[in-house]
């Protein structure tokens, strides 16, 4: 059905591999960079996912508090 195979989609590895230096020199770098560069870079994906999750979480907490504020406001308006 789909004509494009995975290999055909991958235009990056060949074209840029010799120019990319993201993980080169990781051996001499600090512990954090060494850690992030290990295991086929899976920790980078984990980092991205955690950033998204934590930002959404902060947003959720903020909305929760804003609704609570509105509820309080309505309650005090009723009492007056």
């Amino acid at each position: 059905m789909q004509e494009d195979s995975l290999a055909a989609v991958d235009t990056l590895t060949q074209a840029y591999s010799d120019q990319w230096s993201g993980t080169s020199g990781a051996e001499e770098a600090g512990a954090f960079v060494q850690f992030m560069s290990s295991n086929e870079l899976i920790y980078v994906v984990l980092g991205v996912s955690l950033i998204i999750w934590l930002v959404l979480l902060v947003f959720l907490f903020r909305v929760d508090k804003k609704v609570a504020k509105l509820e309080d406001q309505i309650k005090t308006d009723k009492e007056v």
Binding site: L46, L50, W53, L60, V67, E71
Partner: protein, 218 residues
């Protein structure tokens, strides 16, 4: 803010992290995407839970027509549909790189899941058709009870009897001996975490709709 929400925040952070970090056995074709089970399947479990909540409050509304029951029923359905859309999108992406296609009409669970969501979209279309609040609440409660009864058939009974690429087809259990045992250690906590997260979002949405209702009434 209630304490359980902080528990959910920490719990989910651990589940996501552990989902990436645990060692999983080599599975052909799936490879590392086997980890998707921790995120894709809980979307559906959360959707089911929210639809059951929605169903419950629709029954309560028909028993006793109070606005709050309608607010709870429609809020739960809305959050449930949102999780269902997440399930469809994550499933589609996963399918592209394992089954080889974004969408296939040969896969019953995929198509019936889309159909189930459309039944719930129709619930909101129906709601938007009424200006009278009582009429809207009553008719959509009746429709919602019909809608929820289709869910077990569309997502469990029918796809399990057919040939399917999803696990659990042809009358087999979904979690059979071919599925790696270690996946359960994250999958079940992920169910709990995502359902709690869905309930949290639902709770906020109910409170928002309640405030809206009070402003409309005043």
């Amino acid at each position: 803010m209630k304490a359980w929400k902080y528990v959910v925040a920490v719990w989910m952070t651990i589940v996501i992290t552990a989902g990436f970090l645990i060692h999983i056995p080599e599975i052909p074709i799936l490879e590392q995407t086997a980890r998707n089970i921790f995120f894709h399947v809980p979307m559906w479990m959360t959707m089911f839970t929210l639809f059951v909540i929605s169903f419950w409050y629709s029954i309560k509304y028909l028993n006793e027509p109070a606005d709050i029951f309608d607010v709870k029923a429609s809020s739960a359905a809305a959050v449930g549909v949102t999780f269902g859309v997440c399930g469809l999108l994550t499933g589609s992406l996963w399918a592209r790189f394992t089954w080889g296609s974004w969408w296939t009409f040969a896969e019953p669970k995929m198509n019936l899941a889309a159909l189930a969501l459309m039944i719930y979209v129709a619930y909101f279309v129906l709601r938007s058709a009424f200006d009278d609040r009582q009429k809207r609440a009553k008719l959509s409660a009746v429709y919602n009870i019909f809608a929820v009864t289709t869910i077990p058939f569309l997502l469990y009974v029918v796809p399990r009897q057919l040939t399917s690429l999803h696990p659990g087809a042809d009358g087999n259990p979904a979690f059979s001996e071919i599925t790696a045992d270690v996946l359960r250690w994250i999958l079940y906590p992920a169910f709990i975490g995502f359902i709690a997260l869905g309930y949290w979002i639902y709770e906020i949405y109910v409170r928002y709709n309640k405030v809206k209702l009070e402003i409309e009434n005043s």
